[in-house]
Symmetry: C2
Subunit: 339 residues, 2 copies
């Protein structure tokens, strides 16, 4: 795919700011007549296409790419979107975002809305592991590339970018064992999603590999919410022989766990160590900072966007399926540092 000229290219060539180039192209009166002429002449020479609609009509493309996420108000998804934008904007694409609030029905209708908006591709993290697969087929039938990130479905011919959730969970659980935890509970989430199933499997494997007893009653599923973390941790703390470590598949439930442990007058990390997952910013700036597993979301977004660009650049007849798996990184903070 030939790189499209952007206003940044024009700005670099003329040693102007991108804002000045944009204003000149938009006939802003703050820009002198001479500069305007120079910018427009250069834009023409560099084959810059300003009018998206005209460009869309000419190419049969909208240069809009749709991104569907469960929610935008999580740092993880917001950062993935940021990575996607960073990769696509310089190529002349725009990103439009839809959120599903984890409702299957919105997942279906968001796809329809994006098709309706004539997007050139859909990059998505699924909200419901049971969504009718025909929904995705409707994209494929219309030759609109679909790429999954983070929460994916196994589908033939569909590329995906995920992290190694098993390994992230294994590392986090092993870290708790290294800190001396003997009875480690797991705040899990809906395991019909691969990511939560894999985190559970990594946790379990680490327990078994290190000679601890695996106890299914210490694994509880819930939504990724502070209050759910509190509610479940309360039941853990009321056990005769309570856990001394908690590995949570979500930072939000980890935060709830910490609040509940404190409310019971227990100490973190001395009495109970806690590790979350996702490395949401609040885990860093709490007084009692929370250990967590970083998923490099910006990198995930960039790779997702690259997979899309690759798909649109190759010949329609070719089918390429890429499976990219990122390695997560355990960030150790106060909530689990005994030594």
């Amino acid at each position: 795919m030939k790189k499209k000229t952007t206003i940044y290219d024009i700005a670099a060539k003329l040693n102007l700011t991108a804002a000045t180039v944009s204003r000149a192209l938009n006939n802003n009166k703050k820009i002198s007549e001479n500069t305007r002429k120079l910018v427009k002449q250069t834009a023409l020479e560099m084959n810059y296409e300003q009018n998206t609609l005209a460009r869309a009509l000419k190419s049969g493309k909208s240069f809009n790419v749709g991104v569907i996420v469960p929610r935008v108000d999580s740092n993880f998804f917001a950062s993935v979107i940021r990575g996607i934008e960073e990769e696509l904007y310089p190529k002349g694409y725009h990103v439009i975002i839809c959120q599903t609030h984890n409702q299957e029905i919105l997942e279906t209708s968001n796809i329809n809305s994006l098709l309706n908006a004539q997007v050139d591709g859909v990059l998505m993290s699924i909200s419901n592991a049971k969504t009718n697969i025909e929904v995705f087929d409707s994209l494929l039938q219309k030759q609109v590339p679909l790429i999954f990130f983070d929460r994916k479905r196994e589908m033939d011919g569909i590329s995906s970018v995920t992290i190694d959730d098993f390994n992230g969970a294994y590392t986090a659980t092993k870290h708790l064992i290294d800190q001396g935890c003997k009875k480690i509970a797991h705040l899990s989430n809906d395991r019909s999603f691969e990511i939560f199933k894999d985190r559970y499997a990594g946790y379990k494997q680490a327990i078994l590999d290190h000679g601890l007893e695996f106890d299914e009653s210490l694994v509880v599923e819930s939504a990724s919410k502070i209050d759910e973390g509190k509610r479940i941790t309360k039941t853990f703390l009321e056990m005769q022989n309570r856990p001394d470590g908690i590995f949570s598949s979500s930072d939000f439930t980890a935060l709830g766990a910490i609040q509940e442990i404190k409310a019971h007058g227990l100490r973190i990390p001395q009495d109970i160590c806690v590790v979350g997952f996702s490395n949401e910013p609040f885990t860093r700036f709490m007084d009692l900072s929370i250990s967590s597993v970083d998923q490099s979301p910006i990198e995930m977004g960039r790779l997702t966007a690259q997979a899309f660009l690759e798909e649109v650049s190759i010949k329609k007849k070719l089918k390429v399926q890429k499976k990219i798996v990122l390695q997560p990184e355990l960030i150790i903070r106060k909530s689990s540092t005994r030594y």
Copy 2:
């Protein structure tokens, strides 16, 4: 505007869940043949229009509404979007979101992208107070309704939903004075935006009304970032006669201020009281919870969506401009509670 039949209406009539209705309409094989027939028959009777594209072609509308915000990873904007969605989904509209990262150039191109995607309206919070006003005119010329929320431009005929930022800032500053603060600094933001100008004005007025000395050197503008709050607070703390109260126009700079004050070994609220603005969730769940001004973002989103619905329901020839101003609420927490 006649209310459109939604799957929720069909579900209510048949005493089924919305998910079941959706699955039945989408020929999901989990749904029995009888139920599928019943749902489809009822949908037909209730004049339910399933196919958005067909509906769009028939009505000349896309039923997509574009929302443009500076960023999605702030609870404030995410909550406004939530309010917009809650109001628009039941009316059969879908919401597609673009973010500008405060770049003027992206503001312009987002509007073009949304026009290109044939949206029925644009609801936006502006990113740059100096954006060429012609950008907005391009929407109006195409008869696409434009509504501003929170960060607005004064434009004839354009409705807006904002909060009373002056009053919010006045109340917060008066609260600091009531707590015994005598020298109150203000972490401000780019005052070419009305909202930050108004917060500054409310702060200043409260200072003057209560017999304190107004000192311009205690007012510093910065981006809404934790590190900026730290950097500026450091300069405050190095003053011979340092402030004993900080009113911040952002929760993020307030958090930075708190971190810096603690790093200097000073106590909050005993030595310095801090109040932020926006009521981001982290202000509540910090150990040292942060007082903040709540902007009722979900309500703001709902009112913005209602203004849009009103605009599309009235005759094209009529021009209605609504200015809705919400009253903010000061939430007092540990960071400013001396008594």
